[in-house]
C-alpha cells in the first residue's frame, strides 16, 4: 500500500511539476516583447543558476551554497544590465565581466573530491583540470579555424568573429576539460580554464546588440516551437537517445564497460563462426534447392521472353513471370542462407522469407477476399493470430511441431504434435492399410479429375489465367496422388518415423519463421485490404468500360495504386522481423543453429554479463535497421 501511494504521489507530482515548467516557460517568453530587461535578467538568473546547480549537484564546489547564490546574483544583474544598455562597448564590457566573474568563481571554488567505493578502492571525482599547453592551444586554434570554415559554408551571413569566438571557446573547453587529466590540476589552472571559458561566452553574449522590437517579438514566437517540442524531445532523449549513445560507448568497451577496447567486440561478432560462417559456400552448388530455384527463375525469364516477342520487345513481365521470380527468389535465398550459417545470416533469412511471404500472402488474401461473400468473417479469422503474443505463438507452435519417440501399437505412433501425428498417420495410411488407403486414393483422384475439368472449362471459355492457375495447382495434387499410391509419410518397418521440425538444422529455421508469418499475414492483409478499398471506384469503372479483365484490373490499376502501401508494409515488416526475439527464445533459445541477433545479444549481455559484446551486437542490429527506418519515415513524410 505504501509503495502504491508513493507511486501515485510521484506520478501526480511529476505531472504537476511538468505542467508548472511548461506554463512557466511560456510565461517567461511572454515577457520578451514588453519587459525585455526583466526577461534578460531572468535568462541570466536561469542560466547561471542551472550551471552552478549542476556543479553543486556533482559535488564539484567548495561552500556551494554561498558560491551558487553569488553566481546567480552576478548572472541576474548582468542579464538585467544587458537588457538595458545599448552602447556596444558597454555591452561588451558587461558581458566579458560577467563571464570572467562566473568562470573565475567556478574555478576558484572547484574542488577535487576523494571518495571510497564500497569495496575499499579510493577514487577521485575530478574538478581541476591539468592544463597541457600544446593540446590546449591546438584545440582552441583548431576550434577557431573550424568556426571560420563553418562561417564560409554558412555563406557568410553572420559576422566572422562570432563564429570564430564560439568555436574557439568550445575548442578551449574540449582542450581544458575533455582531454586533460581532470583530477591533476591546481587551483590556478582551474581558475584559468574557467576564466577563459567565461571570457569567450561572455564576449559572445556581450557582442549581441540590444534586441529591437522586431527581435523581441521574434524571440517570443520562435520560442514556442522549442517549448512545445521540449517535453517530447526530453522524453525521447531519456528513453532513446541517451541509451543509444550509451550502447555505442559500451560496444567499444570490455565486458563490464570499464576499459576501452576499440573495435574488438565488432571483430568478435564477425570472426565467430557462430555469428558469421561462410565456410559452407561451396555446398551451394550441390544444393538441389538452389538449382530448383534457378530453374524456376529461368522459367520466369523464358515466359517473359515469349511474352516480349508477342509485343515485339525483348522481355515483358507478366503475372506468371512475377510468380516464378518470386518463388524462385525465395528458393534461391533459402538455398544460399542454408549454406551460409551463423546468427547474422539467419537474421537475413528471417527478414527475406518472413517479409516476402507475409506480404505476398497478405496481399493475395486481401485481393481474393475483396468484395467476396463473408469478407469480414474471413478476414477476421486470418487476423486473429495477430492478437496472440509472440511468446504465446511460439508455445502454441512448439506443440504443433512436437515429436514423440514413436511407439508401436498406438495410433499415430503416440504422436502428440499435430504435424507429426498427421505425418505418421499419413504413413500408416499409405503403407500399412488397404481399404482406408483405397478410399484416400479415390478421393484425391476425384479431386484431381475435378481440377482437370475446371482447367479444360477455363481454357474453353478463354479465361487463360484461371486455366493456368489450376494447372499449376494440379501439379502438387498429382504428385500427392502418386505419393499416396507408392506410399508416403512417416512410416517404415512397421514403426512411425517422426520429423524433428525444431531440431533439424538448417531448415528448422523455416519452421520457426512459419510462426511469425502466421501472426503477420493478418497485419499485411488488413493494411492491403484498406488500400485496395481506397482505390477510386472511377478508375476501376473506367478500366472495366475499356474492357479490362479481372487480372488486368489488378495488375494495371490496383497494383500501381497500392504501391506506396506495399512499401510501407514491407519496411514495417523488415524492421519487425529484424528484431525477432521471443519466438526463437521460446522455441529453441538459439540452439540447433536457430540463433538470431536479438537473442544472441540478450545472451551475451545478460546471461554472460558481457555488456561490451552484447552492445556491439545491438549496434549491428541498429545499423541494419536504420536504413530501412529512414526509408520508411521518408516515405511516410512524402505520403503526408
Amino acid at each position: 500500500m505504501g509503495k502504491l501511494l508513493t507511486t501515485v504521489l510521484g506520478v501526480v507530482g511529476a505531472i504537476g511539476v511538468s505542467a508548472v515548467l511548461f506554463i512557466g516557460a511560456n510565461k517567461i517568453f511572454d515577457l520578451a516583447p514588453r519587459h525585455w530587461r526583466w526577461f534578460s535578467a531572468l535568462i541570466g538568473f536561469l542560466v547561471s543558476g542551472t550551471v552552478f546547480l549542476v556543479l553543486w549537484a556533482n559535488d564539484l564546489l567548495l561552500s556551494p551554497l554561498a558560491v551558487t547564490i553569488t553566481a546567480v546574483v552576478i548572472g541576474t544583474v548582468g542579464g538585467f544590465v544587458l537588457g538595458n544598455v545599448s552602447n556596444r562597448w558597454w555591452r561588451l564590457g558587461v558581458g566579458v565581466a560577467m563571464g570572467v566573474a562566473l568562470g573565475g568563481i567556478a574555478g576558484f571554488y572547484s574542488q577535487n573530491i576523494f571518495g571510497v567505493l564500497p569495496d575499499g578502492t579510493q577514487v577521485i571525482w575530478p574538478a581541476r583540470p591539468d592544463l597541457q599547453l600544446g593540446p590546449l592551444a591546438g584545440w582552441t586554434v583548431g576550434g577557431a579555424v573550424l568556426g571560420a570554415a563553418i562561417w564560409q559554408v554558412r555563406s557568410r551571413v553572420k559576422p566572422l568573429y562570432r563564429s570564430v569566438l564560439l568555436w574557439g571557446t568550445l575548442g578551449w573547453a574540449v582542450g581544458a576539460y575533455a582531454i586533460s587529466n581532470l583530477s591533476g590540476g591546481t587551483r590556478n589552472e582551474a581558475v584559468l580554464a574557467g576564466v577563459v571559458l567565461g571570457l569567450g561566452f561572455g564576449a559572445l553574449v556581450g557582442t549581441r546588440p540590444l534586441a529591437d522590437d522586431r527581435e523581441r517579438g521574434r524571440v517570443q514566437t520562435e520560442s514556442r516551437k522549442y517549448i512545445f517540442l521540449g517535453p517530447a524531445f526530453l522524453f525521447i532523449a531519456v528513453t532513446l537517445i541517451v541509451p543509444t549513445i550509451r550502447t555505442l560507448i559500451l560496444s567499444v568497451r570490455d565486458r563490464r564497460g570499464e576499459n576501452f577496447l576499440g573495435i574488438e567486440n565488432y571483430q568478435k561478432v564477425f570472426s565467430n563462426p557462430n555469428t558469421f560462417d561462410t565456410s559452407g559456400w561451396r555446398l551451394l552448388f550441390t544444393s538441389r534447392l538452389f538449382w530448383m530455384g534457378v530453374i524456376v527463375v529461368v522459367v520466369g525469364l523464358i515466359i517473359a521472353r515469349v511474352r516480349g516477342r508477342e509485343v515485339g520487345t525483348s522481355m515483358v513481365g507478366s503475372p506468371p513471370s512475377y510468380g516464378a521470380w518470386f518463388v524462385g527468389g525465395l528458393l534461391v535465398s533459402a538455398a544460399v542462407l542454408s549454406v551460409l550459417r551463423g546468427t547474422l545470416f539467419n537474421n537475413l533469412w528471417w527478414v527475406i522469407t518472413v517479409t516476402l511471404v507475409s506480404s505476398a500472402l497478405g496481399l493475395g488474401i486481401a485481393v481474393l477476399a475483396d468484395r467476396a461473400k463473408h469478407e469480414a468473417a474471413a478476414k477476421s479469422i486470418i487476423f486473429l493470430p495477430m492478437a496472440i503474443s509472440f511468446v504465446g505463438a511460439g508455445i502454441i507452435w512448439r506443440f504443433m511441431y512436437q515429436a514423440r519417440q514413436p511407439t508401436a501399437d498406438v495410433p499415430h505412433g503416440g504422436q502428440t504434435g499435430l504435424l507429426n501425428a498427421l505425418w505418421v498417420g499419413l504413413g500408416e495410411l499409405t503403407q500399412s492399410s488397404t481399404w482406408p488407403k483405397a478410399i484416400a486414393v479415390t478421393l484425391v483422384a476425384v479431386l484431381a479429375v475435378g481440377m482437370a475439368l475446371l482447367a479444360v472449362m477455363a481454357f474453353r471459355d478463354g479465361v487463360r489465367g484461371v486455366g493456368w492457375g489450376v494447372v499449376v495447382a494440379l501439379i502438387p495434387v498429382l504428385w500427392f496422388l502418386y505419393s499416396l499410391i507408392v506410399g508416403v509419410g512417416g512410416w517404415a518397418d512397421g514403426r512411425g518415423q517422426i520429423i524433428l521440425f525444431i531440431q533439424n538444422s538448417p531448415f528448422n529455421n523455416l519452421w520457426l519463421m512459419v510462426v511469425l508469418i502466421w501472426t503477420q499475414v493478418g497485419f499485411a492483409m488488413i493494411i492491403f485490404s484498406a488500400a485496395i478499398k481506397a482505390v477510386p471506384a472511377v478508375l476501376i469503372e473506367a478500366a472495366k468500360v475499356d474492357g479490362a479483365t479481372e487480372s488486368q484490373l489488378f495488375w494495371k490499376v490496383t497494383m500501381p495504386q497500392i504501391m506506396p502501401t506495399i512499401g510501407v508494409v514491407i519496411t514495417t515488416l523488415i524492421v519487425l522481423v529484424m528484431k525477432v526475439f521471443d519466438i526463437v527464445k521460446v522455441m529453441t533459445n538459439g540452439n540447433f543453429d536457430t540463433q538470431v541477433i536479438a537473442n544472441e545479444m540478450w545472451q551475451r549481455a545478460f546471461t554472460e554479463l558481457n555488456f561490451g559484446l552484447g552492445s556491439a551486437l545491438a549496434v549491428v542490429l541498429f545499423a541494419a535497421v536504420l536504413p530501412v527506418l529512414v526509408v520508411n519515415v521518408r516515405r511516410m513524410q512524402r505520403a503526408v
Binding site: P118, D119, R255, R256, N272, P273, N274, Q402, A403, R404, Q405, P406, N420, I498, L500, I502, Q503, S505, N589, G590, N591, F592, D593, Q603, F606, T607, E608, L609, N610, F611
Partner: protein, 465 residues
C-alpha cells in the same frame, strides 16, 4: 501406481500476533506449519509445532530468497522450511523460484535489483558474482555458524580468493545410474562393475531388443547440462582427477585431443542405433526430467543422473525396497581401479547487509534447515503414504539428522563423505561464460549433429574469458 500426492503448507499467522504481546513472558507453542499429503486412498496431515519467543528483535523485517528450485516438491519443501523459520523468527521470508534462474539473477544483479539471498547452483557463478562485487562476504559470526556445520571440503566451494562468500545448502551425488532391479532380473542382466562391462551390457540390451539408455538434455535455457555431466564423469574416469582439475581451471586448453576423445566416447555411445530412448524423438529435444516415466515403464533400462533425480521420478515410486516397481541406483562404473565421484550442490549468498538477512543465512547453514527441508520434501514426494520414498534432497550438513533419510540416501551421503576422489561438477566451477554458456550450447550442437566435436570444442575454447 495411481497415488497422487499434493503438498499443502499452511502457516498460522496467529503465531506472530501471540508472540508480539511483550507482557507474556512464557513462550507459547503454536502450530505453524501443517503438511497434508493427499492420496487416492488416504489423507495424512503432518503438523510441526515450534516455540515462539515472547520478544522478537526481527519483528516486521522481511527477506527475499531467489533460487532455481521451482515447481514440485523441491520448491514446496523450500518454502515450507523457510516458513518454519519465518514463524519462529518473525522475519517475513519470501521464496521465489525460477527455472531460468541463472539468466534472471544476472539481470537482477546487473540491474541493481537483486534479491536479499540467492541460491546458486554453481560455485563458478558465486565466484563471478563475488568478483563483480554483487554478493557480500559472510560476517565472522555467520561464517562461524557455517564452520560448525560443514566440512572444509564443502565450505571451499563458497570461498572466493580466500574470502567466504557462500554457504553450501544442498549436495548432489552425480555418478549414479538409475535402474529397476526387477527388470534387470527379468532380462538376466547384472549390474556392471567396470566401464567395459557397461558397454557390453549396453550392447547386450540392444541385441535383446531392449533400449539401454534414457537420455534427454533439454532444460530450457540450460539445455545441454546433462551432456556436460556425462563428459565430466567420463573425464574423471578416463583422464583422472589431476587432468580434471587442470581442465576445469583452464591450465590446459579446452579443445585438447583427450577432451575430444571423451566427447566422442559419449556421442558414440548415444548415437549407437537403438541405444537411447528419447521421449521427444531426439536427445536434444527431450527434457532431462521426462525420463523418469519411461524408466519406470521399462522403455529404457538405465538413466545416468544425479541423486536429486528421485524428485523427477513418478510420485510414490519406491526405492530399493525389493518391490516390483522399485528403482535403485548403481555406481557409474569406472575405467580404472579408483572409484571417482562427481558431486554438485547449491550455495546461498547474500546481497544485502542486514541482521535479518544474516539470520536467514545462518538458518540455511544450520542442521535445522537441512532436517526441515528433508522432512518436507520427503512428505511432498509421498513418504507418508509409501515407505522408502526418496526425497531428492541431500544435505552435506554435519549436524543433519541421518535418520530422516532412507538407507539408500544415507549411502549417497556416505559415498560423498568417504570417496577417495570427489570432484565438484566442472561446468559449475568454470566461469559462467563457459560453464553456463558455451559448454551447454556447443555440447548441444555436437549432440544434435550441427557441429563436429572439434568445431564445438574450438568454439568453447574461443569463448573462455
Amino acid at each position: 501406481m495411481t497415488s497422487r500426492a499434493a503438498l499443502v503448507v499452511a502457516v498460522a499467522l496467529v503465531a506472530a500476533a501471540c508472540s508480539s504481546d511483550a507482557s507474556t513472558e512464557t513462550p507459547e507453542t503454536v502450530v505453524v506449519t501443517s503438511i497434508v499429503t493427499e492420496t487416492v486412498t488416504e489423507t495424512v496431515t503432518e503438523t510441526v509445532e515450534v516455540e515462539v519467543p515472547a520478544t522478537n528483535p526481527f519483528e516486521g523485517t522481511s527477506v527475499t530468497v531467489f533460487g532455481p528450485e521451482s515447481g514440485g516438491a523441491e520448491e514446496q519443501a523450500m518454502i515450507a522450511a523457510l516458513d518454519l523459520f519465518a514463524a519462529k523468527s518473525g522475519i517475513d521470508v519470501t521464496y521465489l523460484g525460477a527455472r531460468d534462474f541463472s539468466d534472471q539473477i544476472n539481470a537482477q544483479a546487473a540491474g541493481g535489483n537483486p534479491p536479499d539471498i540467492a541460491v546458486f547452483p554453481q560455485p563458478g557463478k558465486v565466484a563471478d558474482f563475488a568478483r563483480e562485487g554483487f554478493i557480500l562476504p559472510l560476517p565472522a559470526g555467520t561464517e562461524a555458524v557455517m564452520n560448525d556445520n560443514f566440512s572444509d571440503a564443502w565450505t571451499a566451494f563458497g570461498n572466493v580468493d580466500g574470502v567466504q562468500f557462500a554457504i553450501p545448502t544442498k549436495a548432489d551425488l552425480k555418478s549414479l545410474v538409475w535402474y529397476q532391479p526387477a527388470r534387470f532380473e527379468a532380462g538376466g542382466y547384472t549390474v556392471p562393475e567396470t566401464w567395459g562391462e557397461l558397454l557390453t551390457l549396453s550392447d547386450q540390451m540392444i541385441a535383446d531388443g531392449n533400449t539401454p539408455w534414457c537420455v534427454g538434455i533439454e532444460s530450457g535455457p540450460a539445455t545441454g547440462w546433462t551432456f556436460t555431466d556425462w563428459v565430466e564423469d567420463l573425464t574423471l574416469r578416463i583422464e583422472g582427477p589431476e587432468y580434471y582439475d587442470q581442465w576445469v581451471d583452464h591450465s590446459i586448453p579446452f579443445n585438447n585431443p583427450e577432451m575430444a576423445a571423451i566427447w566422442q566416447t559419449v556421442l558414440d555411445l548415444w548415437n549407437t542405433p537403438g541405444a537411447v530412448f528419447a521421449s521427444s524423438g531426439s536427445i536434444a529435444a527431450t527434457p532431462f526430467g521426462a525420463n523418469g516415466q519411461p524408466l519406470v515403464d521399462g522403455k529404457c533400462y538405465m538413466h545416468r543422473q544425479a541423486s536429486f533425480y528421485s524428485a523427477f521420478l513418478p510420485e510414490g515410486t519406491p526405492a530399493a525396497d525389493g518391490t516390483e516397481g522399485a528403482v535403485d541406483v548403481f555406481y557409474f562404473p569406472s575405467v580404472g581401479e579408483d572409484k571417482p565421484v562427481l558431486g554438485a550442490g547449491t550455495l546461498v549468498s547474500a546481497f544485502r547487509d542486514a541482521p535479518e538477512v544474516w539470520a536467514v543465512m545462518e538458518y540455511f547453514a544450520s542442521g535445522e534447515y537441512a532436517d526441515a527441508r528433508q522432512r518436507f520434501q520427503a512428505l511432498g514426494k509421498g513418504s507418508a503414504v509409501t515407505e522408502g520414498v526418496l526425497s531428492g534432497f541431500l544435505s552435506p550438513n554435519l549436524n543433519a539428522d541421518l535418520s530422516l533419510y532412507t538407507p539408500l540416501e544415507q549411502s549417497f551421503l556416505d559415498i560423498l563423505a568417504t570417496a577417495d576422489v570427489v570432484r565438484f561438477d566442472g561446468s559449475d566451477l568454470m566461469p559462467s561464460d563457459v560453464g553456463a554458456g558455451t559448454f551447454w550450447t556447443e555440447g548441444t550442437s555436437a549432440v544434435n549433429g550441427e557441429k563436429t566435436v572439434q568445431e564445438a570444442l574450438d568454439a568453447i575454447e574461443a569463448s573462455w574469458p
